[in-house]
Symmetry: C2
Subunit: 141 residues, 2 copies
DNA sequence: TTCATAGTGAGAAAGAATTCTCATTATCAT
DNA sequence: ATGATAATGAGAATTCTTTCTCACTATGAA
């Protein structure tokens, strides 16, 4: 049996610093696209492949967490935050962290089912979009 | 301006009957793959293109509703059900409807944000999978 | 029954998201 | 400073899902 996990050597590159910085400064989850845009400002010419590679290793080493936003794909955020939920703007697709988990998700499960966790996403319009446009009509998909 | 919406003529074919039947008999949301498998039993040789075409028209005419299960893609179920949430088995990917919406999703939103709805997905192990395997280790993705 | 045409199946094609390849560059232990 | 090699960027390639094309079939109004 192989020794528990060969921690791949990781060099502290400009690109990876930019990527970690992006998450540290962002006060919200980022999609790969958003991350690429933000981190590119810090590290010009940042390649998309590097973004994916870095995300993967950061997730593996437990520094990042993946969250799936229904209808908007994968987003990433610093791991270890307190349990919370997300708000997704149907208009601009920005995802925001919401405080706490007030929702006492006390759902009755069928016999034999066992829950391990839950995902809650509130969707609607963020303040920025609400200002511009009046109530959106249909759900963005 | 064109007359409000030319309701495309819809013929009552064996394939579409099989697809509607699949949803009527299924007591849970189905993915395209699952639908294809189930409806194929009723209508042998059912093509995947027809599955997609039918789903699209059923969604358009409001007979079906799309639900996104984080990490498991799109599922479909009869529209008009009472507000409820879903359980997704991390092991077999089966999605189940849960009764009511006990979760008083009373989350404090940031200033200016307005909610239009919420998605709640409980994930864990369904009874069938719980019987076989003991507590799963990692979250299925 | 007839027949215009909506619907179908099979596979090609299109999209998108992510991964891979590989020549070049940058990191960092020595 | 040197050098072995991890990391990068660009674009090709993959994978997965959904849509399109087209020859053929089946529906249903007449």
């Amino acid at each position: 049996m192989a020794p528990t996990a060969s921690v791949a050597p990781v060099r502290d590159t400009r690109q990876r610093r930019a990527i970690r910085l992006a998450f540290e400064e962002a006060e919200r989850p980022l999609s790969t696209e958003q991350l690429h845009a933000v981190a590119s400002r810090e590290s010009r010419g940042l390649g998309l492949a590097t973004v994916y590679r870095s995300i993967k290793s950061l997730v593996d080493e437990g520094w990042l967490e993946v969250i799936d936003i229904p209808g908007h794909g994968a987003f990433y955020e610093r791991a270890g935050k307190e349990h919370h939920h997300h708000f997704a703007c149907e208009n601009c697709s920005e995802v925001t962290d919401l405080d706490g988990c007030s929702s006492e998700v006390r759902v009755r499960l069928p016999r034999g089912y066992r829950a391990r966790g839950h995902d809650v996403t509130i969707f609607g319009t963020c303040s920025r979009c609400a200002e511009k446009r009046r109530p959106p009509t249909r759900r963005g998909r």
